[in-house]
């Protein structure tokens, strides 16, 4: 007679694996990657390739040195590499990209224990450190499609121009005079900016793919973008064009869809996600409208990342049927 053996729970398994999820994220990033290489030319491809290769290499080497099981196969380093490249201007010298990968993978991710252990988003931290290390190289934007012919034309990003507009009294007039790209160009990404953030259309395609595959929940991106929209509606005194401009410019879509939703550094349950999204949106808007810097998405995400443990504490759901504990209070009193 055969023995009936029962393995330990859980008995119902999902076929989801880390590698599978990361593969989905990579697929969702592909449209924006293709568009950015098409817009910004060969050097953009070089930045992208350098970032991915160096991230994977750093992951492999640091796991080897720390004598831990190798996690290169889960593709998370590839995702970090792509997102890091998306956060950089296409003209950045390649050695700076390598420094960025080093910060992201070795310092932020592996020193804290590897995948699932980092307390802030690796790519964003790398971007912020590069930004404060090489402010000039990190804010040299070029017009898309122009660089492909070889001559780089550096221009101010639309967001930098917008930052000035919020401070002007007659905003409608200022919007017309500021010589900004048209809304259609903003949507298609024909504007200066970081490699991956320019093309809103490509990012939205990736967003829809992630939603269909149920890789991310829409709560964080929607509350994040929604908060910015509401804030800008008030700041812009009801000017809708200004609001749309704010939503399409800078790294808002890239940050809200791909970086704020990072599993490791965002809250688990619904309430926490809503708090997280609103917090990100508020900090972003405050920096954009009142701050010295034109862009605040990366800072808002890193600040909220740090708050995540506290958000989780506040939003831990009550187990079914549990009653408010009174015993513990009596216990300490006695």
């Amino acid at each position: 007679m055969k023995k009936l053996t029962v393995s330990a729970s859980p008995h119902a398994h999902s076929s989801e694996t880390t590698t599978g999820i990361m593969l989905d994220v990579i697929i969702s990033l592909l449209p924006a990657a293709i568009v950015s290489v098409f817009y910004f030319g060969l050097h953009a491809f070089a930045v992208l390739a350098t970032s991915i290769v160096s991230c994977v290499l750093f992951e492999y080497i640091s796991r080897k040195i720390m004598k831990r099981s190798n996690t290169v196969g889960d593709l998370s380093a590839v995702v970090t590499g792509i997102i890091l490249a998306f956060n950089l201007p296409s003209t950045l010298p390649l050695w700076m990209v390598v420094i960025g990968s080093f910060i992201a993978i070795v310092i932020v991710k592996q020193m804290f224990g590897g995948i699932g252990q980092n307390f802030v988003n690796p790519a964003i931290t790398a971007r912020i450190i590069l930004m404060s290390s090489f402010p000039l190289a990190m804010s040299t934007w070029t017009q898309p499609l122009v660089t492909r012919t070889g001559e780089a034309v550096t221009t101010a990003s639309p967001l930098a121009s917008l930052a000035g507009i919020t401070k002007e009294a007659d905003m409608v007039l200022a919007l017309e005079n500021a010589n900004l790209p048209s809304l259609k160009d903003m949507f298609l990404g024909l504007r200066p900016g970081s490699m991956g953030e320019v093309c809103a259309a490509a990012l939205l395609i990736g967003f829809v793919y992630l939603l269909i595959r149920r890789v991310i929940s829409p709560i964080i991106p929607l509350t994040f973008i929604g908060t910015v929209a509401v804030f800008m509606l008030i700041a812009g005194k009801g000017n809708l064009e200004f609001v749309v401009y704010q939503l399409l410019s800078g790294g808002l879509l890239l940050g809200a869809i791909f970086m704020a939703t990072d599993y490791t550094t965002s809250p688990i349950n619904k309430k926490g996600k809503i708090i997280f999204g609103i917090g990100c949106g508020l900090i972003t808007s405050v920096i954009r409208v009142f701050g010295l810097l034109p862009e605040g998405v990366s800072f808002s995400i890193i600040l909220m990342n740090i708050l995540v443990p506290h958000i989780e504490n506040l939003t831990t759901p009550k187990p079914f049927g549990s009653v408010k504990e009174k015993k513990s209070k009596e216990g300490t009193a006695a």
């Binding site: 700076m96 420094i99 310092i107 450190i129 404060s132 290390s133 090489f134 190289a137």
Partner: protein
Amino acid sequence: MAEKKSLGKEFTKGLVAENPVLRLVLGTCPTLAVSTSVSSAIGMGLAATIVLICSNIVISALRKVIPSKVRIPAYIVVIASFVTIIQLIVKAFVPALDSALGVYLPLIVVNCIILGRAEAFASKNAVLASAVDGLGMGVGFTAALFLMATVREVLGAGTFMVGINDLLSVFSDTTFNGFTIPFLSENPMIIFVLAPGGFFVFGIMIALSNMLAEKKGKKRAELRGCEACPMASTCSMNGSCEEKDKEVSE
């Protein structure tokens, strides 16, 4: 300190095993503020070392005269007089260093390394041992500052020891004034001379020195007694807290 150690040990413990900055995490404020350039780090280290040795000698010599209830004010008076002397000397002979260190030079008065050594060591040990202890701690402080400043200046400004001439010209008439590193000086990582870079370097160096000390066979919690305690300078329990800790844990 019940057991007697040799003078050599009193000196070397300040270098790595009980390095004031990296192992005891004392004197953090001047460390982070001054370590942006190697020359000011050396200047700060030297000034603090001289004050440390002198104050240790005087406090150790007076240890039987100072009433224990007012010992902290007494220490401060002793330390402050030496700091004033050093400050006047620096102002007179190395004015450039004085302006580079700014408020951190007079702040040596409340530097917790110096106050900590006075309370934890000089007030309980003989004069010679206290002097050697001060020298060891001072050298350890200077070495830690030098290492941190090297990393921060090389990566953050692309130079090494620039401005050292102000310090050297007091002793000899060299024209040596540091190096400029070709590639790094054109592309400095500015973050390293800013506050966040200081904290990064500080954290990584503490981790490395812990690793070094642990490799030598000493576990992390091996440091015992008042020297290991950051509150030693303000504490009046004179080591009796350790027995309390034992009672609690048992």
